[in-house]
Amino acid sequence: MEWKRKDLLGLEELDKEEIELILTTAESFKEVSHRYIKKVPALRGKTVVNLFYEPSTRTRVSFEVAAKRLSADVINIAAETSSVKKGETLIDTGRNVEALKADIIVIRHNSSGSAHLLARNVGISVVNGGDGWHEHPTQALLDMFTLKEKLGRLKGLRVSIVGDIAHSRVARSNIWGLTKLGAEVIICAPPMLIPPRIEAMGVRITHDIDDALRDADAINVLRMQFERDERNAFPQQIDYFRHFGISTERLKKAKKNIIVMHPGPINRGIEMSSEVADSANSVILEQVTNGIAVRMAVLYLVSHAHDKINEATD
């Protein structure tokens, strides 16, 4: 199996083998972060540009660390969302970055589909670092990597995703990735936060958190973004914790070794209690560590595919 895409835009368009290839490549990169000299020359001489239209510390830093451990040069651009009427368009910005002879753009943007737009308009590699409510493929990949590391497999696992599914790119990417690899996915949220017809993506819906926890091998708890939901989605933060928050009491009814994940940053006391976040079930910090290996794998694979495509057309 060979990786052939110059871009990583989402998990929807990937097949099972491609996802597995990223995960196994990440396994081999994980060890680099444990070396005395945490660096390999895989991307030496390459330039990675983090083009971030949304404030994000953890994803940006994770990509930066990943690129640097591959010996790439990294440039961070914190850009303003450009509308049609003012400022530079996304395509123009992308072409300017390309003209700097950068090799990979990692884009984070609050508009769904922006990574696709950029990828269509530049010749260099584009990695989606999160686009609107659409996809956040590297987050889902690191979630899957962590699960596989902990439980030895993904096929047949029951994974519940809890929280604001409607506005979550993490949820969408996890749903695509996990279902392709044979896991059973349950989503749990108040009805207003479940987008229409999502069951067609191969998930089961529940509004009952105890149901979501029952027999689950893992639970992925999304960050509640009350500031994002303009109208009437959920009345009160305190209500949210009462009905959907993960507490120690609730966790007692779940499998003893249930894995608790969270893409961060956590709102302690809203989507989960502090106790749970810091419990033995929690793998939240391991997710952060694994994020580096997964992003190293992605940067490495797209960069090599791009070079191959270029050689072929030369």
Partner: protein, 426 residues
Amino acid sequence: MKLLIKNATIVDPACDVYAELDMAIEDGTISHIGAHIKEEAETVIDAKGKVLMPGLTDMHVHLREPGREDKETVATGTVAAIKGGVTALLAMPNTEPAIDTKEHVQLLKGIIGRSASAHVYMAGALTKGRQGKELADFAAMQEEGIIALTDDGSSVDDEGLMRSALRLARERGLLVICHCEEKTLANSGVVNLGLISTKLGLRGIPCEAEYKRVARDILLAEEAGCRIHIAHVSCEKSLEIIAKAKKRGVQVTAETAPHYFTLTEDAVSGYDTNKKMNPPLRSAQDKEAICQALRDGTIDVIASDHAPHTESEKEVEFDFAEFGVVGLETLLAVSITELLHTKVLSLPGLVRKLSCNPSAILGLCKASLKKGCQAELIIVDLHKEWQVTKRSLVSKSKNSAFLGRRLQGVVEYVILGDRVVHQARH
């Protein structure tokens, strides 16, 4: 000046003609229709195997002039129209400035007089500046020649104002064209609310946003006794409401556009902004319902909703891209490919939706091939294939939802009066 068209399959639903015949046109007027006309003529066209039909009347066109000549002008838009077989069209008033006063109608009329190569009819705005706050002066605009009223692009939210508008329009015998959209329900959406909005993570527009406003406008029009026409119907529920209203005698007609009977929400996958329009592409079930409504007569008209936008307005993030697609040049070919060749509509049925019905709704004495009528007709090769590409389009904007598609149906000749104004290149 005499023109003779030989061996054409003449389709004229107005006169119940559907046969292979000859037609003679003298000084711009149809002088003779019959088998084997043996007359001398300056120009003879052999139309064997081709269809001769009335020119299309496209009652939903955004020509963008005055104000947005970077997107389209009356000149470029009407050249595109003629190429697509559209000999008459209704220009929407959402220009800059809006066509909402006597002076603005005069301004547009002047531009049309100078630069239109097809018949352009004018619609005036219902409210000043299309702001939905204060009614425009219907009488003054009508004196200058508008034949319909619409705030197309938006709906008049204020129900009291809409009620008054319908009463005044009725008094003046003006048709009101309704863009049915309830903004709070549309919720700043950009695609259909459903699996596609879920998959793409985009804000969805529910069907309620359309059909609730269809219902309101029908009820208000019924009470006012005003004729209304529902523009660009996209979903099944709207059709149910329209069908019921027609049954109880409300003077309501309805239109759809080719993208609604050809494409579904799935076409938006990959964030193609040339599939972004308002109302949005709906589900497969809605598309099927549109076809059924074309068949059973609930939908009277197929119009293009030609909405040109520049590339820089379309090649942006999906959320930021303008709504709308061009359609003048594909209106007929998509209808032939998707409705005629698939047997949704018969050929006379298709001609009714594209020519006879819109012409009748607008009160134009057109779309007939009767002896004595002014010639306004097209000759079409129903089977000739072509591919829609940016280069194939003569409209100033290239934002077609059908780019890349192969279509059947080419307009071979367009005849206006005694002139052949368009002849397809071979």
